[in-house]
C-alpha cells in the first residue's frame, strides 16, 4: 500500500527555535527510507517564493498568479511516497521524519487505488 507523506514546515509563528532538523538528520532519514526498501518517490520543493499558480476558467481562459504565499500557515516543503503494509507502519515513518519535529508536521495520505 502506497502512502504519500506531505512534509509541511512550520509557519513563522509556530517554528520552535533551535528545534529545526539539521541537514544530517534529513540525510540519515533519506538513507533509512532507501535502505528499508520502501522508497517509491520523493522530492524536496524549492522555496515557496518561486511558486506560480495556474487556474483555467469555464471559457478556457488561463490565469497565472505569483504565489500562493503566506495565507497558509504551514508550507508544503517536500514529500515522500512510500510502500508499506499498513497505516501504522506509514505513521511510524512519518514520526521518524525530521519534518515532523520543530513545529512542522507530516500529513499521511493513502494513494488512491483504482485497480482493485
Amino acid at each position: 500500500m502506497k502512502y504519500m507523506l506531505l512534509i509541511n514546515s512550520a509557519g513563522t509563528d509556530q517554528a520552535q527555535e533551535g528545534c529545526e532538523a539539521s541537514f544530517e538528520d534529513w540525510m540519515a532519514y533519506d538513507k533509512a527510507v532507501q535502505e528499508a526498501g520502501i522508497f517509491v518517490a520523493g522530492h524536496s520543493l524549492a522555496d515557496l517564493t518561486t511558486a506560480t499558480t495556474v487556474r483555467v476558467d469555464a471559457k478556457g481562459e488561463r490565469a497565472i498568479t505569483d504565489g500562493p504565499f503566506a495565507e497558509t500557515r504551514e508550507v508544503l516543503g517536500g514529500y515522500y511516497v512510500i510502500d508499506v503494509p499498513d497505516l501504522d507502519v506509514a505513521l511510524d515513518w512519518a514520526a521518524r521524519c525530521p519534518g515532523a519535529t520543530g513545529g512542522g508536521s507530516v500529513v499521511v495520505r493513502p494513494i488512491a487505488d483504482f485497480e482493485g
Binding site: M1, P85, D86, L87, D88, L91
Partner: protein, 412 residues
C-alpha cells in the same frame, strides 16, 4: 421468536458476536464482510438452533457458518475477492498469521479494540465503533446511546469504516514496546462511554445506566485480554466503585443527589467489593497510573460510612499524585473540594477562586456549584445564590437543574 429462550440466546450472541467478528476480521481483513457474515451466522442460528438443538460447540458452529457465507460471497463477487486477497497478502506481510487452527476460537478481540480506538480515527467515532463492534450494539442502539439521530450515527460509522478500509488501519494489537503509548487511547474510549452514561451531558435523565454498564462490560473483556495491565484494572475498578453508587445518586423526583447527601445504604456492596479487589492490582508493582489513582480515591469514598469519617487527608494526597500524572483544572477543582473537607470551607474556596481564570472551567457547571456550596457553608448567602444561578445556567440535564433549584431556594 419470543420468550425466555430468545432472550437467553440473544444474550449468548451478544457475547459471541464480538469474538466471532474479531476472528473473521482477522481471517478476511475486512470489517464490512466480517460484520455481514457474523449477522448471517447469528440469524441462521436463531432459525436452526430452536429446531435442531444447540450444537455441542456453538462458537465453532457460528464460525463455520460465517466462513461459509464469506466464501459464497467472495465467489459471487470476484473484484471484491481479488481486493481482499491482496489485503490478506499485505496483512501477512505486516504480521504473519499465528500457525495452527484448533477447535477453540482464538480471542482476537484485542486487535479489534485497538483498531476501533485507533488515534487516526475521529475521536467521536471511536466510542461508537467500539460499542458496535465489541459491544454488539446495532447502529440504532448506538445512536440512542449518544443521543444523535440514527442517520447521523450511520454516517459516522460509515466514515470510520471507510477510513479503516481505505487508509488501511491494521487489525493488530500493538507490541509490548508500543503498548504504553496506545493503551491509554483504548481506555479513554471506554471511560468516555462510561462518563457519558454516568453523567449524561444532555437530556432528560441524569444517568444512562445502559451505557455505563456497557462500558463496564467492555472493560471486563479488556481485563481478561490484558490481565497484567494495571491501568486496565484501575479503569475497571474505578468504574465499578462509581457505578456502585448509582441508585443513591438520584432522588425520588429524579434529581441529582451529591455524595454528601447520598443514602449509603443504597450503594451496591457487591460491586464495591469487586472494585476494591481491583485497586491493589492497579497500584502494585510500579508507579501508579491515572486510572489506578482515581480508583483509589473512589475506594476511599466507598469505604467511608459518611462524609465526616472519610479519609480526606489521604484523598487530597491522592489528588496531588493525580495532578502530577495528569494535570487538569477539573482535577484541581476536585482537589479543592477535598481540601475544603480536610481544612475547612475557607481553604477550599481560596483554591477555587485561584482557578477563576481557567478557560476549561468557564462553562463547567460543577465549578460554580462547588463555589456556591462553600460560600453557603461560610454563610455568605447572597454570593452563594449568585453562584447557584450561574451553575443553573450551565447545567446540561434536568436532574442537575432540579438539584440546583433546591439548593438555591435554601439560600434565598
Amino acid at each position: 421468536m419470543t420468550g425466555p429462550y430468545a432472550e437467553n440466546v440473544e444474550a449468548v450472541f451478544r457475547e459471541e458476536r464480538g469474538r466471532l467478528l474479531a476472528a473473521l476480521v482477522r481471517r478476511f481483513g475486512d470489517l464490512d464482510l466480517a460484520e455481514e457474515v457474523t449477522s448471517d451466522a447469528i440469524e441462521a442460528a436463531l432459525v436452526r438452533w430452536p429446531v435442531d438443538g444447540v450444537p455441542p460447540k456453538p462458537g465453532a458452529w457460528l464460525m463455520t457458518t460465517a466462513r461459509r457465507r464469506a466464501v459464497d460471497r467472495l465467489r459471487r463477487d470476484r473484484t471484491y475477492a481479488s481486493r481482499l486477497a491482496l489485503l490478506q497478502v499485505e496483512a501477512d506481510r505486516a504480521a504473519p498469521s499465528p500457525a495452527g487452527a484448533g477447535d477453540e476460537l482464538p480471542d482476537e478481540r484485542l486487535q479489534l479494540f485497538f483498531t476501533c480506538a485507533h488515534p487516526a480515527l475521529n475521536a467521536d467515532d471511536r466510542g461508537a465503533l467500539t460499542l458496535r463492534c465489541l459491544g454488539g450494539l446495532a447502529t440504532p442502539e448506538v445512536a440512542r446511546a449518544f443521543l444523535v439521530p440514527e442517520a447521523t450515527m450511520a454516517k459516522r460509522i460509515v466514515r470510520a469504516k471507510k477510513k479503516i478500509r481505505e487508509a488501511r488501519i491494521p487489525f493488530r494489537a500493538p507490541g509490548p514496546d508500543e503498548l504504553p503509548a496506545r493503551l491509554p487511547g483504548v481506555l479513554q474510549v471506554i471511560y468516555s462511554i462510561f462518563t457519558e452514561g454516568y453523567a449524561a451531558s444532555a437530556g432528560p435523565d441524569l444517568q444512562r445506566l445502559d451505557l455505563a454498564e456497557e462500558a463496564i462490560r467492555l472493560a471486563r473483556i479488556l481485563r481478561r485480554l490484558l490481565p497484567a495491565e494495571r491501568e486496565v484494572a484501575g479503569l475497571l475498578g474505578l468504574m465499578l466503585l462509581i457505578h456502585a453508587r448509582r441508585d443513591a445518586r438520584t432522588g425520588p423526583g429524579g434529581e441529582l443527589v451529591l455524595l454528601d447527601e447520598q443514602d449509603r445504604g443504597r450503594w451496591d456492596r457487591a460491586m464495591i467489593e469487586e472494585g476494591l479487589r481491583l485497586v491493589p492490582a492497579a497500584l502494585a508493582g510500579g508507579p501508579p497510573g491515572p486510572y489506578g489513582v482515581q480508583a483509589a480515591i473512589a475506594a476511599l469514598h466507598d469505604e467511608a460510612a459518611d462524609v465526616a469519617t472519610t479519609d480526606w487527608p489521604q484523598i487530597v494526597a491522592l489528588y496531588d499524585v493525580l495532578l502530577a500524572l495528569a494535570p487538569s483544572p477539573v482535577v484541581e477543582l476536585n482537589r479543592a473540594a477535598a481540601v475544603a473537607l480536610r481544612d475547612g470551607p475557607e481553604a477550599g474556596l481560596a483554591l477555587l477562586d485561584a482557578l477563576a481564570g481557567e478557560p476549561r472551567l468557564r462553562a463547567y457547571a460543577p465549578y460554580p456549584m462547588a463555589r456556591a456550596d462553600l460560600l453557603q457553608r461560610l454563610g455568605r448567602l447572597p454570593e452563594a445564590a449568585a453562584a447557584y444561578r450561574e451553575a443553573l445556567d450551565l447545567a446540561g440535564t434536568e436532574p442537575e437543574r432540579a438539584h440546583l433549584r433546591r439548593r438555591l431556594a435554601a439560600v434565598t
